[in-house]
Symmetry: C2
Subunit: 213 residues, 2 copies
DNA sequence: CCTTTCAGTGAACATCCGTACACTGAAACC
DNA sequence: GGTTTCAGTGTACGGATGTTCACTGAAAGG
């Protein structure tokens, strides 16, 4: 295993099987939860012997935390994309959902992982995800503070709103990428629901203009 | 095992160990996900031999579906409680959260189970939960249709709103009852956040009156 | 060029897993 | 009161699990 064309430094090879382990995990996590992952099946899929796993991670949990890390790198990259070309406030939702939709395909497994394990079985992973989502919530809150009409809001108010949006996003992302959303039509429907629900939060029930049909 | 004071009909005894199996599952599900449950640990906790499990369920999955069923009996009972004494619209959120909070203690394990397995690992259970939540969402939509100010809303609009509320409730319920919410202060905080966020959806960002601090 | 490092090997382990099978003994039934 | 039903027993199995340990062979380094 792991012999390649010609030149490849030792740490390149190591990094490659490490990557393969992470990918195998993300792959298997599409069909089961982290708590039921098996080290042996993982290494079998990668094509190495079970014990070689320990050359890369000291335990399955440690590998899980690595997955959390890189998943949130994806998520933050997405947020940065939205923030980069400062969209006008009235287009913020549209732009955000567009970016989400685009990034979703590139990082399906990551978003699926977050959605699945957010409330899933294994404590340290659940906690790591909760922590990262908390950070993102607070970042979003400070972003929102600069929006017209929200300058006077207190930290607590902004936090509430940020929580609503983050929740909505995580749930919608998972539903768009999780099992049952293979059909593009279904996915587009979820995407539209997300747009509308986000708008509904902004204008409120009182200010909602019924959808034309 | 399973010998009792005096008279106890055969099906009573059977029902009792069935109940014990379900309870043992709910108990263990506080610390792991359904996908990693083990028939042997389950039966050990109940005090019966592994093979006796099959006298009650044909598989772990079937038992999981039974858990979904009884969990939604709890949830529907809760909703009926809110609906029973028709609360005035402006108190609906307060009343709902109060009922939720009260029912939560009585059915912790059920709500924890739903929150955990909603996006969790095992397909048939995930689908059963999604189906039941869909029903509840539609019920709530028809309830909302009778509210003053919403009589003119179309089915799609009502569905959007119902989705927001159901989502908010499931997430908040899990956070109130899941790991990390043992501290009553933490729980009360989550409860208050839920109240505020629900109100924010109703009045919208535009109509939000900043919290006094 | 010779030595060190170390990713991956392969056998062995104790333990857990689900399930098949023949069984027992007491409640249920006629 | 004799027969049937059936929840729970006990053994036994084949296979999967995580982890140990001493190992190999090629790349890295002096």
């Amino acid at each position: 295993m792991t012999t390649q064309p010609a030149t490849e430094t030792r740490q390149e090879r190591k990094e490659r099987t490490r990557r393969a382990l992470l990918d195998a995990a993300l792959d298997q996590l599409a069909e089961e939860s982290f708590g039921s992952l098996s080290l042996r099946r993982l290494t079998k899929q990668v094509g190495i012997v079970p014990t070689a796993f320990y050359r890369h991670f000291s335990s399955l949990d440690e590998m899980g935390l690595a997955l959390v890390d890189e998943s949130f790198v994806s998520l933050r990259a997405m947020i940065r994309d939205v923030r980069r070309d400062q969209p006008p406030p009235d287009e913020l939702i549209e732009r955000s959902v567009d970016v989400l939709s685009r990034q979703l395909d590139a990082n399906m497994a990551h978003f699926r992982f977050i959605g699945r394990e957010r409330y899933g079985g294994v404590a340290p992973i659940r906690e790591a995800i909760a922590h990262e989502l908390g950070l993102i919530e607070r970042e979003l809150a400070t972003d929102l503070a600069r929006m017209p009409g929200l300058e006077a809001w207190g930290a607590a108010d902004l936090q509430l709103l940020a929580g609503l949006f983050v929740n909505l996003m995580v749930v919608a992302a998972y539903e768009m990428v999780g099992p049952g959303a293979e059909d593009p039509a279904v996915r587009r429907e979820i995407e539209e629901t997300l747009r509308h629900q986000a708008r509904m939060i902004v204008v409120g029930v009182a200010g909602w203009q019924p959808l034309e049909r």
